[in-house]
Symmetry: C2
Subunit: 258 residues, 2 copies
Amino acid sequence: MTRIAMLIEYDGKRFHGSQFQLGLRTVQSELESALSTYLRKPTQIILSGRTDQGVHAVGQVGHVDIDEDERALDLWRLNWAINGILKKDLSLRSVQVVPASFHARFEAVQREYVYRLLNRSQRSAVLKDNHYFIPRALNLSSMQEGAASLLGTHDFRGFRSTNADKSSTVCLVRRAEILNKGEGQLEFWIAADHFVYNMVRIIAGTLIEIGLGKKAPESLATALVAKDRNLAGVTAPSWGLTLHSVYYPDKYNLFQAL
Amino acid sequence: MTRIAMLIEYDGKRFHGSQFQLGLRTVQSELESALSTYLRKPTQIILSGRTDQGVHAVGQVGHVDIDEDERALDLWRLNWAINGILKKDLSLRSVQVVPASFHARFEAVQREYVYRLLNRSQRSAVLKDNHYFIPRALNLSSMQEGAASLLGTHDFRGFRSTNADKSSTVCLVRRAEILNKGEGQLEFWIAADHFVYNMVRIIAGTLIEIGLGKKAPESLATALVAKDRNLAGVTAPSWGLTLHSVYYPDKYNLFQAL
C-alpha cells in the first residue's frame, strides 16, 4: 500500500462543495470517481477540510491509499491520467508519495484563505466568478485596522454559522491583512491553525461593513470578546472565497518542487 | 446629439468575436441590442477594433451617438441600466461624454494587449479560461530576448494571417516584455500604435517556440526582416489573449476618473 498526497485545484462554481453528498456533484465524489476509474477499484479520499458550495481552491490537499507498491507506481502517468478523466473545473496540480503517518486532515497545521473583492462603480465581466462586487466606496484603512485585530489567539464562537460543528472555536490567526491589488481589486488574506464553519466569510462580511462605515473598525475586536454572532457582520458570498494553501509539518516536504 | 465613449469588458469565451456577424452572438450585437432597448430605438456602435472569437477585453473602447442633449442625459443611470440588461460576461466599466471629433477607431493612438501563459506541469482548474497551458519548461530569458527585438518600428507582414486586411503592416511597438507573475504564470505585454490581423497571437506563438528551444531568440528579428509568415511561429490560441487598453490623445481625458 502506498499513501499519496494530492494538491487539488477547483473552480467552485459548479460544485456542491467539497465533501461527498449523495447524488450531488462534489469535489470528493468527482475525484473518487476518477481515481476509481484509473485504479479499477472503488477508491476513497480524505480532504484537509470542507469548502462550501461555490468556494474555490488552488491549494486544497487530500490523500488516498493505493494498493500498489511505491516502486511499481508511476505518479507522473497517474497525474496526467486523472487530469484527463476529470472535467476542466477540477485538477490535480501535483501528487506525491507520503508516509503512512501523513493525514490530510489531522496533520494540517495551518490553512490560508483569500477573499477577493471588486470595489469599483460597475461590475466586471471577467472577475465575476471569484470576486464579490461592491459598488459603494470602501474605506481601506478602516478595514485594515479591523483585520489587524484578528491576529493572535481568539475564540471565534461569534463568527460561525449556527449549524456549526462541535470542534474547538479557539483559533490562532497568524496572518490577517488586506492587500490593494489596484483597479478596485482588494484581497483579504487570512491564515490560521484551523477555522470554524463559515468563519472567513463572516469575517469578510464584517470587514466589508467596516469598510462601508456601517461598523467601526474596533467592532471586530468587540464582537470577538462578546462571542456573539449578532455583533459580527453578514456572511459574505461564497464565490469571493478561495482556499489558497494548507500547511503541514516540514518533515513531509510536501509539494516543495512546484 | 451626444457622443458617448464606453469602456467595455468581456469574457470572450461565449462570443463569436467583437464585430457584428449576422445571427451570431458578438460583443457589438449584444451591446447594440442593450442600448437599443434602453434608448427605445435602433442604435449602432463603433468599436476601437475587432477582437477574435475567444479573445477577452478589460479595456475595449467604443462610441455611440445618442439623440439626447448632454444635460438631459443621466449617464450614471444609463451605465447601471445597460449592465442590468447585458449578460454577465459583458459589461460597461464606464461611460463618458466626448466631443463629436472623438472616434473610437480612428482616434486610437495605441493598443495594449496581454497574452497569458501557464507554464507548470499540470493544467489549472481556475486559470483555464484566460491562460494558455504549456506543460513543458519554457526558457524565460530566451523569450525576453526575443520579445525585446520587437521594440521600435517594423513591418509585421510576416506576422499576420493570410486572410489579413489591407491596412498598413508597419507598426510602432512601444512595449514588449514578458513578466513572471509566479506559480508558473507568465504574461507577455505588447503595446503598439496598431496591430495587423492575428499579430499578437502569432508573436506569442513564436515566443513560445523560442521558450521551448524550437527557435533561437534571434529568429524573431530574422522573421521580421524576412517578412515571411513561414519563419514566424504558430498562432497561439485565442483564450490566452486579453485586450487590456486602448489609448487616445490626452485632450479627451478618457476614463481618467477610474
